[in-house]
């Protein structure tokens, strides 16, 4: 039993050390909320480990100290029982004290988390879809409202308020290195405040089972210095780049004639679909299909040619395209920086 415990403990430590570099890890916090939570996780873990070791020690002692064979059931010794009773009462009392302490600690952590977003200047509305994220940057000026998909840019070092909802099933927004998760529920609006201490790219993923492609519903939070963020926003407000080459021009034509326009929007063109991600600045994103593929010409072609092969069950249909047509469309989309 003891040997097993020490093996388990050593394994645990080794695995922990290996994993701290993860970019979607709750143990590698990059913002105030996640830091508070990581501290809480370590504190609870440490205390629980101590309790566990004590209980195991209490279990090991009678096994190691007592004789192993005794045929007749023992008569009860009233004196020993009342001494035991005192020990048990003390153990129960200690348990209660520890639990009260942990409860209070939770309440204080809650309060710290609630304080993070009290002065958030930026509000972003995140809407869950099967299986992608619609991201809308709110602004007092209607013309500055910006809609993109899957990647969320935020200014580093500033609290940002996320308004979370869903149009289909329940999803859950979770970027572990910045904050805990919160559900996106149809018919409800949840509020999550996040803040990244430093510029960086933080991965997140849907955490509530939402159907066939729940596994491939990733997202990225890209924290940038304020000036860079503002520049990015202004760029994104521009209509889509006008295609230059012949192939790209043909691609635009194809895109507008094919079923693509039923679902996708490309700013500055007649394409105005809203049920799928806005593609106006598609090529400026790092990934395709909600974090499933990295952005590249080859992946773009693979995704359009066979969406069901990349993300089986996804709502992107197969559009019948010849090789040239596929190349043209990819050339066009590649230009949408």
């Amino acid at each position: 039993m003891k040997r097993l415990a020490s093996i388990a403990f050593a394994t645990a430590i080794a695995l922990f050390l290996q994993g701290c570099a993860g970019w979607q890890s709750a143990l590698d916090p990059k913002g105030p909320a996640a830091s508070e939570l990581a501290w809480l996780i370590w504190f609870f873990t440490g205390l629980c480990a101590v309790v566990w070791v004590l209980v195991m020690a209490a279990l090991a002692v009678p096994l190691l100290m007592r004789s192993r064979q005794h045929a007749e059931p023992l008569a009860l010794d009233a004196g020993a029982d009342s001494r035991k009773l005192r020990v048990v009462m003390i153990a129960v009392g200690l348990t209660a004290v520890i639990l009260v302490g942990l409860t209070l600690l939770s309440f204080f952590a809650n309060r710290t988390l609630a304080a993070i977003g009290s002065d958030a200047a930026l509000t972003i509305r995140v809407t869950g879809h099967q299986w992608w994220w619609e991201v809308r940057y709110e602004d007092a000026t209607p013309s500055r409202i910006l809609t993109t998909a899957n990647e969320i840019h935020i200014p580093a070092g500033e609290p940002v308020r996320l308004l979370l909802t869903s149009t289909d099933v329940i999803h859950s927004f979770w970027v572990p290195s910045l904050s805990g998760k919160l559900d996106l529920i149809p018919g409800r609006m949840n509020v999550l405040d996040i803040k990244a201490d430093k510029p960086g790219v933080y991965r997140g993923q849907c955490a509530e089972f939402c159907g066939a492609q729940h596994a491939n519903m990733g997202t990225f939070i890209i924290a940038e210095p304020r000036a860079k963020f503002d520049a990015w926003w202004n760029d994104q407000l521009e209509p889509a780049a006008v295609p230059t080459g012949d192939e790209a021009k043909a691609g635009e034509n194809l895109f507008l004639k094919r079923p693509c326009v039923m679902c996708h929007k490309i700013g500055g063109t007649p394409a105005g679909g809203t049920v799928a991600p806005d593609l106006t600045h598609l090529a400026s994103r790092q990934t395709l299909a909600a974090g499933t593929l990295t952005m590249s010409r080859g992946n773009l072609a693979a995704w359009i040619a066979d969406p069901q092969g990349v993300k089986p069950g996804s709502h992107m249909p197969v559009v019948d395209l010849s090789g040239d047509e596929l190349n043209a469309i990819v050339a066009y989309l590649e230009g949408l920086k």
Binding site: M1, L4, A8, T11, A12, L15, G19, Q24, A26, L40, I41, F44, C48, V55, A58, L59, P62, R66, R68, Q69, H70, P73, L74, D77, A80, D81, K84, L85, V87, V88, A91, L99, V100, T103, S106, F107, A109, L113, Q130, V169, S172, P176, S177, S179, G180, K181, L182, D183, I185, N190, Q205, C206, A207, E208, F209, G211, A215, N216, G218, G291
Partner: protein, 658 residues
């Protein structure tokens, strides 16, 4: 525990031991066990209580032991099926981006794994163990409502077949065992998959309710004379509290699944936010059942631990009253913390904090139980045999699960770990550590009572170590990978997140854990066929089930024992005092008072009947058909009514025909 009670009990004159019911005229009374010699008593009782011969006879048996054996075997087979699901999932997850199992099959696999383990294994097997042991432990000849008991088995069996046949036809539910709306609703759950989930849940829970009711009545009204509330064995207490949990919790999930099928089939909008319904209502209803469900599985296991530790520690359980009060406290508190499954839904902070406090609170009675068991071991002289080994395995793992449960109870902490592999690790530590390990201990412990033979001790030790290593290798690293950000219910994950190696390790552990069950199955079969004969009481235990032969005869006890102590066989090293006066030519039970277990009346126990099976078929067909049309409920009512009439058709008493 006053001895005055016992003497008065024992000194009752035969006429007063069992007061005769007014409607049975004394002159028409048949032969009784009073003063009958042992040989003819056994002959009479064996004939009266036998299961009829032939296939029809076997299908109409109402003997609680026969039904429980079927239940146990069926539940074990479902455990193996659910385990195979898990192994398949672990093979798919053993590395990043494996293309072995696609999302469609994977989602069915984890749904069926959860449904099978929760509804077809865990709850049925603890109830089946209760069906076998409770009547023996309280010293009665059969469970209350034996035909209902038979009915419940057939319902359970057909519900399980219903689910697994749909899986074989690739139309198993794929919406998770919790089947949250709107994913399982009419708009996002097309096909018949979620309907299978909804109707199978409603249907299978009928059997749980039936068993719970039978258990409650057996414990309250059929205890042997002298078994006052303070002398009920802890295991029986655990089953009693569990049965109350079933009675109050199961209707919540049946309402949930019925609302869902109404939304899907009849077009109501109970869960549709666009029409004024609410998706969160589903979660509240589901978890109002779902949390007590954990304790429905766990409390009987604590009862097993409470039964096994004293036997091997060679002393009565320390703090009997404390253990009973803890069971009752856990039962009550388990209804007050369902919201901790919903912390990430964005409920008001103050409300969520209340559920943090109540979730923390339940750790206290659970702690009391742990401390009492430790005190029992401290004061005893532990004899280490396989059942006790598995109890140690229970301590080792369940305490981890309990402590991570305390972590999950904290709202802020839960926001990081909810719906990740940390939670998967936690509840497997609780359910396997807290329930399966005690069940394995119980299997080794009570196997001789069921088969009359012992299981191999040597294989048992191998099984124990293989299971412990496999289990911890499979589930401990899940805590870590969960904290690294791996969500649950994903069929694949990207390589760049660095979860590959740890998942390979987990999968290897899972395979090892599964192999330990193969060894266990071999030990079961080997023990049943070739094991050394056990004798009545191989462990020298103290409770009543060991007072009869192994396996027990159809009538359990030739003469009803009188109970003087929590461990009557330890208190009375000679023969137990007995109560007599029951008839031997008809199936008669002794019914006793609720608190003091004074003999009250004699009551007839139901005779074998094929009608419970036919009723279960009628009900099953109705539910199956109802996934296609709501009219099935109307058409199905007729055959159900016919079978119920057959079931309850009054038969004249043999003595009335004389």
């Amino acid at each position: 525990m006053s001895s005055a009670d016992l003497t008065s009990e024992r000194d009752l004159p035969p006429e007063r031991e069992t007061s005769v019911r007014g409607d049975i005229a004394p002159e028409r009374d048949g032969p009784r066990d009073t003063g009958m010699d042992d040989a003819s008593l056994h002959r009479w009782l064996a004939r009266t209580w036998r299961t009829p011969p032939g296939i029809i006879g076997a299908l109409s048996s109402v003997d609680h032991k026969v039904i429980a054996r079927r239940y146990l075997i069926t539940a074990f087979l479902f455990l193996c099926l659910g385990g195979l699901n898990a192994v398949a999932m672990r093979i798919q997850l053993s590395g990043p981006q494996r293309g072995l199992i696609g999302p469609d099959l994977y989602n069915q696999l984890f749904t069926m794994h959860g449904v099978t383990m929760m509804f077809l294994f865990a709850v049925p097997i603890v109830q089946a163990t209760g069906i076998y042991l409770v009547p023996l432990m309280v010293g009665t000849r059969n469970i209350a409502f034996p035909r209902l008991n038979a009915f419940s088995y057939w319902v359970y069996l057909s519900g399980g077949l219903f689910a697994w046949v749909s899986f074989a036809l690739a139309m198993a539910p794929d919406v998770g065992w919790f089947a949250y709306v709107p994913l399982s609703g009419p708009e996002y759950g097309p096909g018949k998959r979620a309907d299978v989930w909804a109707q199978m849940i409603t249907y299978t829970e009928v059997s749980s309710l039936a068993v719970a009711v039978a258990t409650i009545v057996t414990v309250f009204k059929q205890r042997a004379p002298g078994m006052s509330l303070d002398k009920i064995p802890l295991y029986v207490w655990a089953l009693l509290v569990t049965s109350f949990l079933v009675v109050f919790a199961m209707p919540a999930v049946m309402i949930t699944s019925t609302f869902l099928i109404l939304d899907r089939l009849v077009g109501t909008h109970i869960f549709n936010p666009a029409e004024g319904g609410d998706a969160l209502l589903f979660q509240h209803l589901f978890w109002f059942f779902g949390h007590p469900e954990v304790y429905i599985i766990f409390l009987p296991a604590t009862g097993m631990v409470s039964a096994i530790i004293p036997v091997f520690a060679r002393r009565p359980a320390f703090g009997h009253l404390g253990l009973v009060l803890s069971l009752i406290a856990v039962g009550f508190l388990s209804f007050g913390l369902w919201v901790h499954h919903m912390f990430a839904t964005g409920l008001p902070k103050l409300g969520a904090s209340f559920f943090t406090a109540s979730s923390m609170l339940i750790a206290i009675p659970n702690g009391v139980q742990i401390f009492c068991w430790l005190a029992t071991l401290w004061d005893g002289r532990p004899v280490i045999r396989t059942p006790l080994l598995f109890v140690f395995g229970f301590f080792f793992t369940f305490v981890i699960g309990g402590l991570t449960g305390v972590m999950l109870a904290s709202v802020p902490l839960d926001l990081q770990v909810h719906d990740t592999y940390f939670v998967v690790a936690h509840f497997h530590y609780v359910l396997i550590g807290g329930s399966v390990f005690p069940l394995l201990a119980a299997a080794y412990f009570w196997f001789p009572k069921i088969t009359g033979r012992m299981m191999s001790e040597r294989l048992g030790r191998w099984h124990f170590w293989l299971a412990m290593i496999g289990f911890n290798a499979a589930f401990f690293p899940m805590h870590i990978v969960g904290l690294w950000g791996m969500p649950r219910r994903v069929y694949t994950y990207p390589a760049e997140l660095g979860w590959g190696n740890i998942n390979l390790f987990i999968s290897a552990g899972a395979v090892l854990f599964f192999l330990s069950f193969v060894l266990f199955a071999f030990n079961l079969v080997h023990g049943a066929l070739r094991g050394t004969p056990a004798g009545d009481n191989p462990w020298d235990a103290g409770t009543l089930e060991w007072a009869t032969s192994s396996p027990p005869p159809g009538y359990n006890f030739a003469r009803i024992p009188i109970v003087t102590n929590v461990e009557p066989l330890w208190a009375e090293r000679g023969a137990l005092p007995v109560a007599t006066g029951l008839r031997v030519d008809v199936r008669e039970l002794l019914v006793s008072t609720v608190a003091e277990a004074h003999p009250d009346i004699r009551e007839k126990s139901a005779t074998p009947s094929i009608w419970p099976l036919l009723a279960a078929i009628a009900v099953g067909a109705t539910f199956l058909y109802s996934i296609f049309t709501p009219w099935a409920i109307i058409w199905g009512a007729a055959p159900i009514a016919v079978t119920l009439v057959g079931w309850f058709w009054p038969k004249a008493d043999p003595e009335d025909e004389e």
